[in-house]
């Protein structure tokens, strides 16, 4: 089962490597990982998507929590939440027909064209991981993908409650 974990931890050198190391050391999956600062400069927030049953997830949460640098960790998938992942993708868009088709797909999915080359378009879409997959599938019907990059999912719990220091 896919899970999204949000981890709040000290913004210190090496704290990210402790998280990544823990996952590899204990043979847990990392499907994606996103890290950035928070409104509190002393804290970073890491979002990890992983796979696992309840038992494995319970161990992951406990093991992450045990790291001295970690302030809080939650399983976002346990609650109602919003999530987004950013996709940048460069596709072949050489002839008019393909350009029109790609533009239509971008419009339908609510993405944007960020750049044009001689034979390519560079596209952006920020959406749920599921929607990104469907966007990519649709694009593949219309043209060829040259290059892509994904940020990994980030998420927040719904409502007024917050994961804070």
């Amino acid at each position: 089962m896919r899970r999204i974990l949000s981890i709040l931890l000290e913004n210190e050198p090496g704290s990210l490597s402790r998280i990544v190391g823990l996952f590899s050391q204990r043979a847990y999956n990392i499907d994606s990982l996103a890290v950035g600062t928070t409104d509190d400069a002393s804290l970073s927030r890491i979002t990890i998507t992983t796979q696992g049953g309840d038992r494995v997830l319970e161990q992951i949460l406990k093991q992450v929590n045990k790291l001295v640098d970690v302030l809080k960790v939650i399983d976002l998938t346990e609650q109602s939440h919003i999530e987004r992942e950013l996709l940048l993708v460069k596709v072949i868009a050489q002839d008019e027909k393909t350009r029109a088709a790609v533009t239509r797909v971008v419009d339908v999915f609510g993405g944007a064209i960020l750049d044009m080359g001689r034979i390519s378009y560079s596209l952006q879409l920020a959406a749920s991981t599921e929607k990104l997959e469907s966007f990519l599938d649709t694009l593949r019907h219309e043209t060829d993908i040259i290059e892509m990059v994904r940020s990994g999912a980030i998420g927040l719990g719904r409502g007024d409650k917050a994961l804070k220091g």
Partner: protein, 574 residues
């Protein structure tokens, strides 16, 4: 008058003094010379110069296990630091409080592959409780205070502190101030058990028909041996100790049913398998205890108390988990039992003890004494008699370790010092040295084998330098006994690389280091040799006992079986 100022090395020394450190185990090198210079200036902390940094970590570890204090190691950057890795892992697996101070190349060279540069914080990351990269001398007192606090609180463990050479620059001077408070917002180690869980646990304990208390190293680490004993007596429960927990309940206590697990007693493993309630205290259901987890104690309600939540329901699901420190949870349990007004089912309990005594009567530890060859078990039993069961016993890893665990009933906690989790050969001698430093007037005996002792034999030199009169009892079977036992049992006797074909003369070896060596070959000589060894208290004695090389350790759990599926002797199943 101007206030005294200190350079980085002096800040380390001042902070360690404030933290109550008496001994540092270490080895100098380029990156820590300034720190060694600061150590030279003072007399409060004694530095023990080892012959290999791995031994420094085991010495600090043995010292920590025997005293409960934090063991302190000092190593230079690069190879000095990497030599510590096995010792750090050993301490990590057994939750031993240790602070390892490692040198590092100057900050401006970090990342350049400078001479003797290793990312020791990176290397040790999976085997430390935490680590610190110090980058400014002013941070030293705070980082060390935090390191000691983290190492010794909650579930203890090793902490690495890396000090680059420029941080120790003798020309840069600073004020020294020890922080008053080392609270860390992301770390809250000590906990009381949740009252609801305590209530559930007591309910289970008092309604049990076949209760077993399974206690581990956590009882020793939390200094709660007395409360454990009180609980055992209050409930009149049978109690088994893990390898790490031996001595937590005295081995001579009538309710003690022996060690459990791979080489545990029949009565301990049978009691676990038949129990309806198991109270696990500071134990972690290690694979050397459970055998096949699928078949583990199917009928038992498991109450698991541990300070580390990750230990609970990791391998075996707990029905009643209690997260908390034993020094709080055990008093909580005792007072809840006293207040409950409920009493245990005496009738069921009598039946249970009758059953346990029937298992005990099978005398699973009996063996045939040798006539021509010395049995290793006999050596341990005689050692027990000669020391009145009072010695600190450190062991290496292998058959001798199991024989020591089985045939030397430990009366008190911290008396038995062994590498249970990592199984580190070479641990025994340096650990015994750490114990001896802490308790000069007590017997500190290393039980070892011809394989293990050679893994840190160079420390015989350190023993001479600091007059550490430990006793080394080597159960010499001219082979890697435990490896060979497995090869006998599981590999049709194919003894691949388990022979030691070029052993030194250990007596001459000991003598060459300035110690006393005694060799025993025949059972008739054993008593006199042990007596002679015991009569020498001011020098290290190396007792090289040639034991029966064919002896196996029994009982032994059968691979992939239940906790009580065991071999009792060669070819005899329980």
């Amino acid at each position: 008058m101007s206030k005294q100022q200190y350079n980085g090395g002096e800040l380390v020394v001042e902070a360690l003094k404030e933290l109550g450190v008496n001994y540092i185990f270490g080895y100098p090198g380029g990156s820590v010379l300034d720190l060694y210079d600061a150590l030279f200036e003072q007399n409060d902390i004694e530095h023990i110069l080892v012959r290999h940094e791995q031994a420094a970590t085991h010495m600090a570890d043995g010292y920590a296990r025997a005293t409960g204090k934090v063991g302190v190691v000092l190593a230079t950057s690069g190879p000095g630091a990497t030599n510590c890795v096995t010792g750090i892992a050993t301490a990590y697996m057994d939750s031993i409080p240790m602070v390892v101070i490692s040198g590092q190349v100057p900050t401006h060279l970090i990342g350049d592959d400078a001479f003797q540069e290793t990312d020791i914080v990176g290397c040790s990351r999976p085997i430390v409780k935490h680590s610190f990269n110090c980058r400014r001398a002013e941070e030293i007192p705070t980082l060390l205070a935090k390191a000691f606090y983290i190492a010794s609180s909650g579930r203890p463990g090793p902490v690495v502190v890396e000090l680059p050479k420029d941080v120790l620059n003798p020309a840069a001077k600073f004020d020294f101030k020890m922080p008053q408070d080392v609270a860390i917002r992301t770390y809250n180690p000590s906990k009381k058990g949740h009252p609801k869980q305590i209530k559930k646990a007591v309910e289970a304990l008092l309604t049990a028909q076949k209760l077993v208390i399974y206690s581990g190293g956590g009882v020793i680490l939390s200094n709660t041996s007395e409360q454990l004993t009180e609980l055992v007596e209050t409930l009149n429960a049978p109690c088994t100790n893990t390898l790490m927990g031996l001595g937590a309940l005295s081995g001579e206590h009538p309710n003690f049913i022996g060690m459990l697990g791979m080489h545990g007693t029949l009565e301990a493993n049978k009691a676990m398998a038949h129990a309806d309630v198991i109270l696990a205290l500071g134990a972690r259901f290690d694979d050397r205890v459970t055998n096949n987890v699928q078949k583990f104690c199917p009928n038992a309600t498991i109450v698991h108390v541990d300070v580390d939540p990750t230990s609970i329901s990791k391998t075996i699901s707990a029905h009643i988990p209690v997260v908390g420190s034993l020094d709080m949870v055990l008093p909580q349990l005792l007072s809840a039992i006293a207040k409950s007004g409920q009493s245990i089912d005496r009738h069921a309990q009598e039946d249970w003890w009758r059953q346990i005594n029937r298992w005990r009567e099978q005398k699973c530890l009996s063996y045939s004494p040798g006539e021509e060859k010395i049995k290793p078990q006999t050596v341990i039993e005689k050692l027990y008699q000669a020391t009145n069961g009072d010695a600190y016993i450190s062991s290496d890893v292998g058959q001798h370790q199991m024989f020591a665990a089985q045939y030397y009933p430990f009366k008190k906690p911290r008396q038995w010092i062994n590498s249970g989790g990592l199984g580190t050969m070479g641990f025994g001698l340096p650990a015994a040295m750490g114990v001896k430093l802490a308790f000069r007037d007590q017997e500190s005996i290393c039980i070892t084998g011809d394989g293990s002792i050679q893994m840190n034999i160079q420390e015989l030199s350190t023993c001479l330098q600091y007059n550490l009169a430990v006793k080394i009892v080597s159960l010499n079977n001219r082979s890697l006994g435990m490896v060979r036992q497995w090869q006998d049992m599981l590999y049709s006797g194919r003894h691949s690389s388990s022979y030691m074909e070029s052993l030194p003369d250990f007596v001459k070896l000991a003598e060459s280091y300035g110690h006393v060596g005694i060799r025993v070959d025949h059972p008739d000589e054993l008593d006199a040799a042990i007596a002679k060894m015991m009569s020498i208290t001011d020098r290290l004695v190396f007792l090289d006992v040639r034991v029966d090389e064919l002896e196996h350790v029994y009982p032994m759990q059968i691979k992939l079986g239940a906790v009580d599926d065991m071999w009792l002797k060669k070819g005899v199943k329980a």
